[in-house]
Amino acid sequence: MPDYYDLGVRFWEDGLEKYANSLGFKGVCSFSKEGNGVEIKAHNLNDFRFSAHGKIILFSSENAELLKVASKREASMLLFERFLPDVGLVRVAAENKKPFEIPVSILLERTGANRAFMMSKIGFFLKICNKYGADFILTSGAKNKLSMKSPAELAAIGEALGLSHDQAVKSISMIPEYVLER
């Protein structure tokens, strides 16, 4: 059985790792002040001036060109908030072996048709990623304990987004492990 990781928690509180372990995760990455990750929301090239030694760097932007630059630098993960099927960006990310983060919370926050549209967008984005060999990581993106998902739930959501079972499991086990080791 593989080890599972949730590399996209957006909060920190005492006992978080213990709670994650009870859900079935071996490790978590929290993008908060106390956590082991740093999220950089980029709007222009000046946002590339940062130092985050020993931490996992998530680079999020709505601008595909900025993410292309980030994938050539020291970003550990990329988050393209619009999930547009930008082939150029996906190719660059695949060449530099930078995985995209797919936070499930984006879907949880929406309801009805908005959720369906976003599922369709993310599903097509994942299809493009598979075609060009770019990696992706399914994360909970949780802002509190109740929005955290177990590995089985994340895999089930991945399958609902059009992934095969193996791809869904890989995106919460092997690829996050690779990011943590790097």
Binding site: V104, L108, G112, S150, A152, E153, I157
Partner: protein
């Protein structure tokens, strides 16, 4: 009587509500069916054929039966629940089995 080869295979899901509020069996049925219906739609619901087998309001846990082929979709549908009776909460799938006795032990 249906011959065994034609019988649809079932899966039993042991689930648990994680929410601050108390919840009765009727309310839990409404929450579960509502979540599945909103995620899968009427056609998907009919294919999954979910049925609440039992619910314990003390431990807020119960057993849901569904079609074997649609179990992953049911899991995804339950994972998308983030509000229970208007309050923040979620439904966790604890265990899945093809035999109900295994969930009860």
């Amino acid at each position: 009587m249906v011959v065994p080869t034609l019988r649809e295979k079932k899966r039993y899901l042991h689930f648990k509500f994680e929410c601050p509020c108390s919840i009765s069996e009727t309310e839990s049925r409404e929450e579960l069916y509502g979540a599945i219906l909103s995620f899968l739609g009427e056609f998907g619901f009919s294919r999954a054929s979910p049925k609440l087998v039992g619910f314990d309001s003390g431990s807020k846990s119960g057993i849901l039966r569904c079609s074997n082929n649609e179990v992953q979709n049911i899991k995804a549908a339950l994972a998308f629940v983030n509000k229970i009776k208007g309050e923040r909460g979620c439904i966790r799938v604890v265990k899945i089995s093809g035999v109900i006795n295994k969930l009860l032990t």
